[in-house]
Amino acid sequence: MNRALLIILIAATALLMAVAFFMPAGPGATVGVASGSALPGFSPKANTPEQAMANVLLDVKRRNWDRAFVGVSKTSGVDERAFIEDWTGSSGSLRTFSNLEGFESRPLHATNDEAQMRVRLHWSTPVGPEEEARDFRLMREGDTWKVVWPHTETASVPAQVIPVDYLRWDLVSGGAEDEWGARNVDAPHVRILSMNAVQAGDGSVVMGEVVNEDTIPAFVNVNATVVDGSGNAIDEESSFDKIAHILLPKQVSPYRVDFPQISLQRVKNVRMDVKATLVPASADPVIGVMDQRLEPDAQGKNVLRGNLFNESGQTVNIPHVVASFYDNNGKVVWVADGYVERALLPQSSEPFAVEVPRALVGKVQNFHVVVNQYSLGRS
């Protein structure tokens, strides 16, 4: 009896562990805390391209760089430092803040010695989830498969001196004891140029453009309240990050306010509220939007793509693009935004792309792109 129970308990423990080993994982562990790796003997061998890819990406996810780099073919011609920088980004870009949260891979084609995989990477970033699709080549080396790491070109900026005409506005607040009537610096004059409400999926979207008509910078927030037929407010939302909040004089920004749960059929009226306040601001950096064009991407989605060109001498760590799309009557029919994962170095370009809903592709006749930015230490 005693021996039987002993064997049963040991066998049951081992069996349960084995079952768990092959079960799908739960909701996952916390991100970016523990970077352990599988105990010796529990890492699956890279004897298929899929497994080799998964092993590398799992170690990248856990930031076990040495182990991940073991899965990279020596023929890649990249050193470990470049490999790590490819994943962790540089210059305080969005990628440097991001964590690889998950991935899905599928083979594009495979032979006995070589395979091509398309990987969809799911990143967790400070500004929300980001997806990236990358293609990898794998090669058989002995009885294991290894990833041939593509060499990524990083922008190199030559040494140069860029003269800067600093232009910024500071704000001096009057003291509380100031005489009544003396504290009379008016808030910037900001106006909503257009507003359009459309149904989007199960919810509705209110969008348009807002302009700073003043001669000083304005910090702008657009709020919208949807009202039903009885005049009762159903919901109130704000433009959040679908707007350029700091508008220089005469600058126009698209805005979009999402009501994900409110069908447009329930909405009788929309109350717009634009709040503008005086803030300290700077006119720099100037970012140009080059070669804008609408075209389908590799996955068949319609995107507005182009290049952002940093005309200033300071690094823009996280560029953000907000684009408004117009129909042939000049009405704003959609507003979309996207973040650029790599930093925009001085006098250099980075590509961007924002998706246009398939249903609107035929309607879009024109577009306007505004670039928003986050620079470390200058927020």
Binding site: N2, L9, G26, P126, P129, S238, V279, Y374
Partner: protein, 578 residues
């Protein structure tokens, strides 16, 4: 007294308690748990009781939540002691009491299974448990420790009542059991199966094999009576808790926790949740298994230990997920490891006894080294584990900011503050939409995503950031005007979402961000506000049963021996074979 005599006697209980005091007293005086994950949470709850004893509705977190969602006993005792020694030292004092009660409980619990000498070794061993140090100093799970200490003290009365039918055992067992429930509900719920189940099985076994005077039917009947009284008592003592859980069952999205990971696939979680809590006990696992199997009387304990052990492995086996269903995603599993180590202690006591009998001084030195190194490893892990915060923010300027110039008429959140959020909340009058207690959250911006505190959003990946984003989008709705940032990770989102940096504290380590168009906070209507009678009940019954249990311990002194005396031999199978 020669060496043989010295080792053949049990260690007196008072000496064991003094050892516990000597080991943990200085650590608590040094306020070592102050940096743990949950200490500030417990102090925050206690602070509310200190100011509003009979009103469990707390406006400071989640725009208002009910503290009836967490059993109040330890918090109320901290609140009482805080009037004399302040909140932090009151926490340490209550933690110390729980840690002194624990070896007493282990001693009394172990005596159900093994002889007095082995039980005394088990109790000494429990002082040095890695799991205890882990829970007290790293996790800050005061209520779990206090509850299990009380629970272990209640179980011998349960056994006595079943086997001897003494009324005083019933009364004391029920009172101490209710106090345990008032300290921590999860311990009680799982303790019924994992701790009380084996004790009931043992009582039945002892009755069947006539080691006690009771009949098998009598044991079962008395167990049922005990169970019914305890169930009714727990129903009454924690009635506001049950009402709140029925009204607002936990429907939120599962929140990831590393204790649910597969330890085989992540060495760090394996170290944190297995190696550190068990320490040198890992070497005793084969003995625990073999001796538990070999001895008929220890088998219920072994099976209880095994189930608890498997649960403590979290996602390393599928058993907890299969048995617990949805509750698996709500519970954390480090407490099961703690319970498993406690359940192992009677058998470990036997191991110590046999080693001492055989190797005398050498064994004593070895066992002492094993105990100290287990505790030492857990304490060392406090400073090297990857879960510890990289740097702790200085919360004083944040508190000062919130408490001046009417800033407390708005709500706030912190980002990158970890458990220091609760410290800010304790000492400011302003309310937050965030909070450090997942089960009390009702705001949809928090329950609809698989993440816990907003202050730790980034550790929950996309789900965490989506939750934070949803909350920031509704800043105007909640009067959320101020965000305090101690991690530049969050700055891009705040910048793009229209928040502006307005102040820096602590040489720029912490920054305050504000949004201009946010109106002052107003009361958020909630159907979770407990009525006055619940507040009265909550303020009287839990603390009342604990005081009753203390009085009963003194008024009704127990017998000095338990019915079964056994120093289990190494091969006892034949001895008890039927």
């Amino acid at each position: 007294m020669n060496t043989a005599e010295r080792y053949s006697r049990p260690i007196p209980l008072l000496a064991i308690v003094l050892v516990a005091l000597a080991v943990h007293g200085p650590l608590l005086l040094m306020q070592l748990p102050a940096g743990s994950f949950d200490t500030n949470f417990h102090i925050f709850f206690a602070s509310h009781y200190a100011h509003h004893w009979f009103n469990p509705w707390n406006e400071k977190w989640f725009a208002g939540f009910s503290q009836t969602t967490y059993p109040p006993l330890t918090h109320q005792w901290i609140a009482i002691f805080s009037n004399v020694v302040g909140l932090k030292m009151a926490y340490m004092l209550v933690q110390l009491i729980a840690m002194l009660l624990l070896p007493v409980g282990v001693y009394r619990f172990a005596k159900i299974w093994v002889g007095e000498r082995a039980a005394s070794y088990a109790a000494v061993g429990s002082v040095f448990l890695g799991a205890l140090a882990f829970l007290a100093y790293q996790a800050g799970q005061l209520a779990t420790i206090a509850s299990v200490a009380l629970y272990l003290n209640a179980l011998p009365y349960f056994y006595e009542w079943m086997t001897e039918a003494q009324g005083r055992s019933l009364v004391k067992g029920v009172a101490v059991g209710l106090a345990a429930a008032a300290a921590h509900h999860v311990t009680l719920i799982f303790g019924v199966v994992l701790f009380a189940g084996p004790v009931l099985w043992l009582a039945w076994l002892d009755a069947r094999e006539e080691r006690v005077a009771a009949s098998e039917r009598g044991v079962i009947a008395r167990a049922a009576i005990f169970g019914v009284i305890v169930a009714l008592g727990v129903g009454a003592v924690l009635l506001p808790y049950w009402i709140s859980i029925v009204q607002h069952p936990i429907h939120q999205m599962p929140i990831p926790h590393d204790s649910r990971a597969n330890f085989l696939l992540n060495s760090i979680t394996a170290i944190n949740y297995f190696v550190i809590p068990y320490g040198v006990l890992i070497l005793a696992l084969p003995f625990i298994l073999m001796r538990g199997c070999a001895n008929r009387r220890l088998r219920p304990l072994l099976l209880g230990f095994w189930v608890t052990f498997i649960f403590g492995l979290g996602g390393t086996t599928p058993l907890p997920r299969w048995l617990l269903g949805r509750a698996y995603e709500i519970l954390t599993f480090e407490r099961f490891t703690f319970w498993a180590t406690l359940m192992a202690m009677p058998i470990v006591g036997l191991l110590a006894m046999e080693l001492l009998d055989r190797f005398r001084d050498k064994a004593a030195v070895g066992l002492a080294l094993a105990a100290v190194s287990t505790l030492g490893l857990a304490l060392a892990w406090l400073t090297v584990n990857p879960y510890r915060p990289a740097r702790t923010p200085d919360v004083k300027p944040v508190i000062a900011f919130l408490n001046r110039d009417g800033h407390d008429s708005y709500r706030y959140i912190t980002l990158g503050f970890g458990s220091e959020l609760a410290k800010v909340s304790t000492y400011t009058d302003a309310g937050s939409v965030d909070g450090d207690y997942n089960s009390a959250r009702l705001l949809p911006e928090m329950t609809s995503y698989g993440s816990a505190q907003l202050t730790n959003s980034k550790f929950y990946g996309s789900a965490g950031m989506a939750s934070l984003r949803a909350m920031l989008e509704h800043a105007n709705r909640y009067g959320l005007k101020y965000v305090f940032v101690h991690d530049s990770y969050y700055e891009p989102l705040l910048t793009f979402a229209g928040w502006r940096k307005i102040e820096t504290f602590d040489n720029g380590e912490t920054t305050a961000w504000s949004k201009d168009d946010v109106p002052p906070a107003h009361k958020i209507e909630s159907d979770a506000v407990p009525p006055r009678w619940e507040g009265l009940l909550w303020g009287t019954l839990p603390i009342g049963v604990s005081i009753l249990a203390i009085f009963l311990e003194f008024l009704l002194p127990g017998k000095r021996r338990l019915p079964v005396l056994m120093e289990v031999p190494a091969c006892a199978e034949e001895h008890y074979a039927v």
